[in-house]
């Protein structure tokens, strides 16, 4: 999946003054960070701004990155914080953007799109601490250990939050999940 050693080499080159070494890191992480931001905030324009801001902040803080840790955990953490800051500033109950991209469903049919929209709507109704575990688990494909690193919480807490998040999501989806 992600070559951590390669990431560290690129980070070191950036810190040594090679600005262009940051470009492959941007290419590598923009998709996952944008997907995470989109699922967290529910609006493509806001997700774009958050992703850009997170990547630029990461560049500015590269000298503080500890190469003993994984770069993706570090940069996800920055992006998660950007999302949380954004959500704390946003008015509660702001409606979801109806044009939210549904992603690449293998079926690509109307039913899949309806399902995706239903999940997006249910997701944005979840409290933030539950939403982030669902996003990291299902859209970032992170393991419990990786989620624990990114969220700075014990694995046990990750599991219990995901447990509650699934229950809440199923409850929000209601009629669909009974199908």
């Amino acid at each position: 999946m992600i070559d951590g050693r390669d990431d560290s080499d690129l980070v070191r080159r950036c810190v040594d003054g090679d600005t262009e070494a940051f470009a492959p890191l941007v290419e590598r992480y923009q998709r996952v960070l944008f997907t995470m931001a989109l699922r967290m905030v529910g609006n493509p324009e806001d997700a774009r701004d958050i992703t850009q801001s997170a990547l630029v902040k990461a560049y500015e803080k590269l000298s503080t990155f500890d190469p003993d840790y994984r770069f993706f955990s570090w940069i996800y953490r920055i992006a998660v914080n950007e999302c949380l800051n954004f959500l704390s500033r946003r008015k509660p109950h702001q409606p979801l953007d109806e044009d939210l991209p549904a992603g690449e469903s293998p079926e690509g049919h109307a039913e899949a799109r309806e399902l995706s929209l239903g999940i997006d709507e249910a997701l944005v109704k979840l409290p933030t601490e539950y939403r982030e575990v669902v996003v990291l688990r299902y859209f970032m494909d992170l393991s419990y250990g990786e989620m624990s690193e990114v969220l700075l919480i014990p694995e046990k807490t990750v599991k219990s939050r995901l447990y509650t998040a699934r229950q809440l999501l199923a409850a929000h989806l209601g009629p669909w999940s009974e199908r």
């Binding site: 003054g17 470009a23 923009q30 992703t51 850009q52 560049y59 992603g103 690449e104 989806l173």
Partner: protein, 259 residues
């Protein structure tokens, strides 16, 4: 069997964490408990549906915009880092020379201290400490603005000033406004490049940066500073427009010439 309760076994089954024995125990419970089976089916459908939603494509131009911002920051930081590198270089390449240099600098600083600050008796000088300035007087003068224009209109007060500093064009906008303003500072992207944007801590507005334009939506009372790098040798002008409070103000600002 393990110490997990049925609900936790369901979750572990979804995540593939159950041992063979635990899975078998769960299947046995599901067969005899319709309520638990229904709960499992509901969570399994959700789990599969979540897994089917793929990643979203990032908008076109996102990576380019990030790198544009990163290069601007690197360019701004370049000057400061250059001095640091200059100071650090002797210690990295030739440590003995570096320490000798530090000693010489220390002696020089000590001499300046004794000569200018120490009491007269310390040096047995009768003519007292020296007075005056080390820098030539013109170095202490404020940089002369290239252009300064008033931004007064209905419900708006302020001014915009353009300066040159270290070969860069700096446009400083100070505003007082009764309502939100749409502020646009336009420039020729062929001769000027955006290096940075700053604003006062309380200055409101959403900033949109694009090649050839800085736009502040919802600007208001506060200070906004745009720093531009000079790319080519030609006369440089900036276009400033303010719109809001039912009025529109447009200004063309002189920013010198490229070197």
């Amino acid at each position: 069997m393990s110490g997990f309760g049925p609900e936790e076994l369901l979750q572990r089954e979804l995540d593939g964490e159950n041992t063979g024995e635990e899975s078998a125990a769960l299947q046995s419970r599901l067969a005899s408990d319709p309520g638990l089976r229904e709960s499992y089916e509901r969570l399994r459908r959700l789990h599969l549906a979540l897994g089917r939603i793929g990643p979203a494509d990032p908008p076109p131009g996102l990576a380019a915009d990030v790198m544009h911002a990163v290069r601007s920051r690197a360019a701004r930081a370049g000057g400061a880092r250059g001095w640091l590198d200059l100071l650090r270089a002797p210690f990295v390449s030739r440590p003995a020379f570096g320490y000798a240099l530090t000693l010489a600098a220390g002696i020089l600083v000590g001499a300046v201290f004794v000569g200018f600050v120490a009491p007269p008796g310390l040096l047995s000088r009768r003519d007292g400490p020296a007075a005056g300035t080390i820098l030539p007087s013109e170095r202490l003068a404020e940089p002369k603005p290239l252009d300064r224009q008033d931004l007064a209109a209905e419900g708006i007060r302020g001014e915009v000033v353009t300066n040159r500093a270290d070969g860069r064009v700096v446009a400083e906008i100070r505003l007082e406004s009764e309502g939100p303003l749409d502020v646009r500072l336009g420039f020729d992207a062929g001769t000027l490049s955006l290096l940075g944007f700053e604003r006062g801590r309380l200055a409101p507005g959403e900033v949109r940066l694009a090649p050839g334009e800085v736009r502040i939506e919802g600007a208001g009372t506060g200070r906004y500073v745009v720093v531009l790098g000079v790319l080519g040798p030609s006369a440089l002008r900036l276009r400033l427009s303010l719109e809001g409070n039912g009025v529109r103000v447009e200004k063309t600002l002189e920013a010198g010439t490229g070197s």
